[in-house]
């Protein structure tokens, strides 16, 4: 087990180097001079522009910039944004907010999705199942910004149950509505995945054996059916955590959540290379860790899946 984890961590190093290099290259390859855009429609004087370029190393070739950046990271220096804030502080400020939002969304979609999927699967073909299928189809086909705007309009402006945007500090009560919106992207998928998995598991021999032994439904459903149906759902929810981190951009924009997605978007627009690359690096790290945790969770759900040396 420990050896397996160690090997997985070693594997992460080339992945991280590769992704930072690629992202840095893409930011570098973005056409246009980000410093020129700082001046709006006004044309700055060339000497001033030259000085600013030197300060942000934009006058250096791409590969030099990249190694200057990497060297900085090794010294714990992630660079500074154009507004003079260290990127490490931006990371420390925005990641907790987005992770909180993502965990809330994940919780909502997982608990809600699995419950509805389970009931649907157990009552295949009944009214509940049919309506769950129709509703999940609607959610799958609606783009997230539509759900977000409608949610904001109905619950924020018309009913006044939630704040229209998230207030400073992003308290949990403000995040509930955005979390529901964020969860809605994949909620329907989890319902359908659980439902299909439950229907399949019900037909398996060990379930029939359990019934044959005279076990009650109260025991069979959670222990035999649900637990064995969860593996594809957990896999999906884990990869989905990455989607949530990135997909938060739209939701964070609409609800003005001071998180990763919104900040990353603005950094891309402004061409702030160090900010963009640092954000993506941390996202890749989180993604790798979540995937590792999920792989370890498999063993917990199904003892047949074991990681031995």
């Amino acid at each position: 087990m420990a050896g397996y984890i160690f090997r997985r961590i070693l594997q992460a190093i080339p992945v991280l180097l590769g992704t930072t290099f690629l992202i840095y290259f893409m930011v570098f390859a973005m056409p246009g001079d980000p410093l020129l855009a700082l001046f709006g429609d006004k044309t700055p004087n060339p000497a001033l522009l030259e000085r600013l370029r030197q300060e942000y190393h934009l006058d250096q070739p791409f590969i030099v910039q990249y190694f200057l950046y990497l060297g900085g990271i090794l010294r714990g220096d992630f660079g500074t944004s154009f507004s003079g804030e260290p990127v490490s502080e931006i990371l420390a400020r925005t990641f907790p907010v987005t992770i909180r939002l993502a965990i809330m969304a994940l919780f909502i979609e997982f608990v809600g999705g699995v419950l509805i999927g389970l009931v649907s699967g157990l009552r295949k073909g009944k009214l509940f199942d049919a309506s769950a299928l129709v509703i999940s189809l609607i959610f799958i086909s609606l783009p997230i910004f539509v759900i977000a705007f409608v949610g904001q309009f109905i619950f924020g402006i018309q009913l006044g149950w939630a704040r229209t945007t998230v207030s400073s500090g992003a308290p949990i009560q403000d995040l509930i509505l955005p979390a529901f919106v964020l969860a809605s992207i994949t909620f329907a998928q989890i319902v359908r995945l659980t439902r299909a998995s439950v229907i399949e598991t019900q037909t398996l021999d060990f379930v029939r054996t359990a019934y044959g032994k005279g076990l009650t439904r109260r025991r069979i459903i959670p222990v035999h059916i649900l637990r064995n149906s969860l593996i594809p759902v957990v896999t999906y929810a884990a990869t989905d955590f990455g989607v949530l981190l990135v997909g938060a951009t739209v939701t964070e924009g609409i609800f003005n959540v001071p998180g990763v997605g919104r900040t990353l978007y603005q950094a891309i627009i402004r061409g702030e290379g160090p900010t963009v690359v640092s954000f993506v690096t941390v996202m890749v790290l989180i993604y790798l860790v979540v995937n590792l945790v999920v792989d370890l969770l498999y063993g917990l759900l199904d003892p047949r899946i074991r990681y031995v040396k």
């Binding site: 246009g32 700082l38 429609d41 507004s83 003005n256 978007y265 402004r270 003892p303």
Partner: protein, 537 residues
Amino acid sequence: MKIRRLGIGVIALAAASALALSGCASGSSDTPTGSSSAVITANGSEPQNPLIPTNTNETGGGRIVDSIFAGLEYYDATGAPQLDVAESIDTTDSKTFTIKIKPDLTFTNGDPVDAQSFVDAWQFGALLSNEQLNSYFFEDIEGFSYDEDSPLTGLTVVDPTTFTVTLKEPRADFPLRLGYSAFYPLPKSAFADMDAFGQSPIGNGPYKLASADAWQHNEKIDLVVNDEYKGGRKPANGGVTFVFYASQDAAYADLLGGNLDVLDAVPDSAFGTYESDLGDRAVNQPSAVFQSFTIPERLAHFGNDEEGKLRRAAISMAINRDEITDVIFQGTRTPASDFTSPVIEGWSDSLEGADVLKFNADEAKKLWAQADAISPWSGTFQIAYNSDGGHQGWVDAVSNSIKNTLGIDASGAPYPTFAEQRTAITDRTIQTAFRTGWQADYPGLFNFLGPLYATNASSNDGDYSNPDFDALLQAGSSTTDTAEANDDFQKAQEILLKDLPAIPLWYSNVTGGSSEAVADVQFGWNSVPLYYAVTKS
């Protein structure tokens, strides 16, 4: 047994989530209520640069800097300059100015606001190696250099409350510029650590930062009243909280949801509905933003000759500005009738030759045919724009208007980002007409003309040059009489209407609104609300 292990896993996960969730939660503080102590909330955007006056050149930081600093003057609701820190600004030749400031003024940290604090701040802002984005504001002062570090020799401190400014050549509108943020004073403490100062500035204006870490990046900034301020912008409220929005839609939703008091940017998506949503709390009035597209003289068929002038006039007359501002912008733009803005003193809608800005299909066709007789046209007329700025709608409409009227091929040429378009324009590699706009730095006609169309001017992206135009600008700048100066500037514009280095399109309106909780919301000449005048019940 197995069940228990699964159970423990679930409990551990739940506990971990709960920790993560509660760890960073912090309650939002309620805004205090009560008449003059109530804090108003207004929309803003994360400042793009540290909050140093000479380094702040966009509205996100500008509205904060203007609130926490007081300059020699401020601009009132009509855009007229009023003395703020200055007691008097005198000149006899528009070249040397004697500035007296009021005695016994201090910054919020106790440093004196004296002649030295202005001179030091200007020297700092102008020095090349300090890399200040607004350094060009000092270019007219003696000693300024774009090429090397060079002190402003034109600044002399006479006594603690008096200093003189000597310009390289006469600039009649120099006093008018002094309300702009580049000319604000800085406290002595700023120079010790300018980076730290930019994150937590100390000013002398109507407001001050609520605490040293009041700037919460990407979220908001809290300003409270500075009781030491003695100028004319006395706050009628208890402070301003600028909430930073990434999108105008979010800000507008907050205004409707009652979480925001003052909004100065209605999103495009609400143009059709905001006036009915807000009723008499909606604002829609022209602002000091001029929009156009520039046709560089180096383009074939568009040189500064007979053919080029005919084609420019034909294209200008082929654009139905009334219809486009109505349909695309739902009345939130005002069709242009000159090269400046209606909120600027000296603006006129009856300049000689202004007919060229009116839609006239027959005349446009005739002029185009005359140009074709000189040298036949083939190809596509394209207008470049940045597609990250919401310009596609009107560019397509303008292109279609040109296409349908003149019977030539016309289309938009999108650049993915603003940075990319600006680079192509600055490098002069762009081979089409392109979108241009100008937001005035100070409310004067010269500011719309000099930097854009004077020979070799800094933002003369189309490389326009006309000695007669330059001479009129010079004449207007040399006089000490404002009316006389504006007369020269209008004559200069009449030359522009003939040459059309840029095709004027429309003036942006400021579109905004306020909540039911506030009153006395007025918008200044620069489309920013006068926050100090807003009252909240």
